[in-house]
């Protein structure tokens, strides 16, 4: 039996995507969607509670085995409240797993958890430490194109290529990560009317209310950089902390979330990215 615990939270993506209806083919409407995070409310971020629930245990184990890291992390804060919070976060869990999860969720609700975590991630990246736990990803979509196909039965097939960065768009030292997305999304409601022709499907999709939400699930395959060869040109040499993301190249991931509209005027997605543990 597959349980929810087999999905491990990695990071979240909020993005807008203006669309262009490129071609009508017998297979469906070919729609070009360009995902972007140029607006302030969009970006790649980490949901603290969900992150800590998935990875808090691993981070605690790592910090327990690496007291120097814990000291360095604490030293980055002068506020005694934040230092105490770090001590709490580093305290190993005990008891049954269910209790652990409840405790983790409680810890992540503490004030400033996001800032504490961000500082730990920065520290690990700067020092290029071999941290066994995933520390999240925060950044932007550099380019995100999806050549979607709207079929006559009201289903959209996604086939995308995204490039993610862990910095801002103009940050030349930031790490780039390729992501290939694919999946089918049924735009019709369960048991509701379904289009009979392609034109009908097109009209139906264009008429979707901008506030209407549809569930979306995509398979995602990442290509994150690994250790470069010592003889390689500077262009291909390691960017600070890039090995933090190697984990993304070594697993199968899914992006699950909500899609708002798909009209000509553009739309947005709110996705959580999870590793699928077999």
């Amino acid at each position: 039996m597959v349980t929810a615990a087999t999905l491990r939270y990695m990071f979240s993506i909020k993005a807008g995507f203006p669309t262009r209806w490129v071609a009508k083919t017998p297979a469906g409407f070919r729609i070009d969607a360009e995902f972007h995070t140029t607006q302030p409310e969009y970006g790649i971020s980490v949901a603290p509670e969900e992150y800590w629930n998935a990875w808090g245990g691993s981070v605690k184990v790592w910090l327990t085995a690496s007291p120097q890291c814990l000291r360095d992390w604490k030293a980055r804060f002068t506020d005694i409240v934040q230092q105490r919070a770090i001590d709490n976060l580093a305290t190993p869990l005990s008891g049954v797993p269910a209790a652990d999860r409840a405790q983790l969720a409680q810890e992540a609700q503490g004030a400033g958890f996001g800032a504490l975590l961000r500082e730990l991630r920065k520290y690990v990246r700067e020092k290029e430490l071999d941290c066994p736990a995933w520390l999240g990803l925060e950044g932007r979509i550099v380019s995100g194109v999806d050549w979607a196909l709207l079929r006559a039965d009201g289903v959209i097939e996604f086939d995308g290529q995204w490039v993610l960065t862990d910095g801002e768009l103009d940050d030349k030292s930031a790490v780039l990560i390729n992501a290939r997305t694919s999946g089918s999304v049924d735009l019709c409601k369960e048991g509701g009317p379904r289009p009979l022709t392609l034109d009908h499907a097109g009209a139906m999709v264009r008429a979707i209310d901008a506030n209407a939400e549809t569930g979306i699930a995509l398979a995602v395959k990442f290509e994150a950089p690994q250790e470069p060869e010592p003889w390689a040109s500077k262009k291909y040499t390691r960017r600070k902390g890039q090995l933090t993301y190697v984990r993304l190249s070594r697993g199968q991931f899914v992006a699950i979330g909500k899609l708002n509209a798909f009209g000509k005027s553009g739309a947005k997605v709110d996705l959580g990215v999870y590793q699928v543990k077999g």
Binding site: R20, W21, V22, A23, K24, T25, F29, R30, D32, V142, S143, V145, W147, Q161, V163, L176, I177, N178, E223, A224, P225, Q226, E227, P228, E229, W231, A232, S233, K234, K235, Y236, R238, R239, Q242, S249
Partner: protein, 198 residues
């Protein structure tokens, strides 16, 4: 005991049609050409198991599709010739350690009349003996501004459009004969002649 000949069905000759002694008919129909100026700022992901990954983007205002002969129609068929701008194009490339590049190209042409044509294709390019190491290495850069190195390659594009004058493109399997210019180990300009296989 029966030998191999005895096990062979008696009607084996009748099971195979007679082999042809001529090729099937085929024609290369010239459709259009395009030149892509590659953005200097490639999206370099870096080393990936087996090679190097990077993405090249077409320079939006400097990449064009056109008819080499300046014809207004495709010769011999009479359909409108294609002329316009490549307003979007990306090439997800993977230089493999065995000196072979694997690419996945996607592009959009906006014709001079404002119609949209979508194209996609894989490309396989032989980088030459030791090409991977020379391209990725700091030393021995390939090509100079005065003397760019030109590599040849072949692609198999497919195009899709809903524009009435260009619907004929949807039916064609195409082949593109390309040349790419390398300057200081970077792709700078890529040119194609695209033919329909008929």
């Amino acid at each position: 005991m029966a030998g191999p000949a005895a096990r062979k069905p008696a009607n084996i000759v009748e099971q195979h049609p007679a082999r042809r002694s001529t090729f099937v008919d085929r024609t290369l129909l010239y459709l259009f050409s395009y030149d892509v100026e590659v953005e200097r700022d490639a999206q370099t992901v870096g080393f990936f198991p087996g090679g190097v990954r990077f993405n090249m983007l077409a320079h939006r205002n400097k990449s064009r599709a056109y008819n080499v002969m300046r014809d207004r129609t495709v010769a011999g068929v009479g359909v409108p010739a294609i002329s316009g701008e490549l307003d979007w194009g990306t090439d997800w490339s993977y230089w493999r350690e065995d000196d072979i590049e694997f690419s996945h190209v996607r592009m959009t042409i906006t014709t001079d009349e404002g119609d949209t044509i979508y194209g996609s294709y894989p490309a396989v390019v032989y980088l030459g003996l030791g090409g991977f190491r020379r391209l990725v290495s700091e030393k021995d850069k390939i090509g100079t501004e005065d003397k760019p190195v030109v590599a040849r390659f072949v692609t198999t594009p497919r195009f899709q459009t809903s524009s009435a004058p260009y619907l004929w493109l949807n039916d064609l399997q195409c082949v593109g004969f390309g040349r790419l210019q390398l300057i200081r180990s970077e792709f700078r300009r890529i040119s194609y002649d695209v033919y329909g296989l008929t």
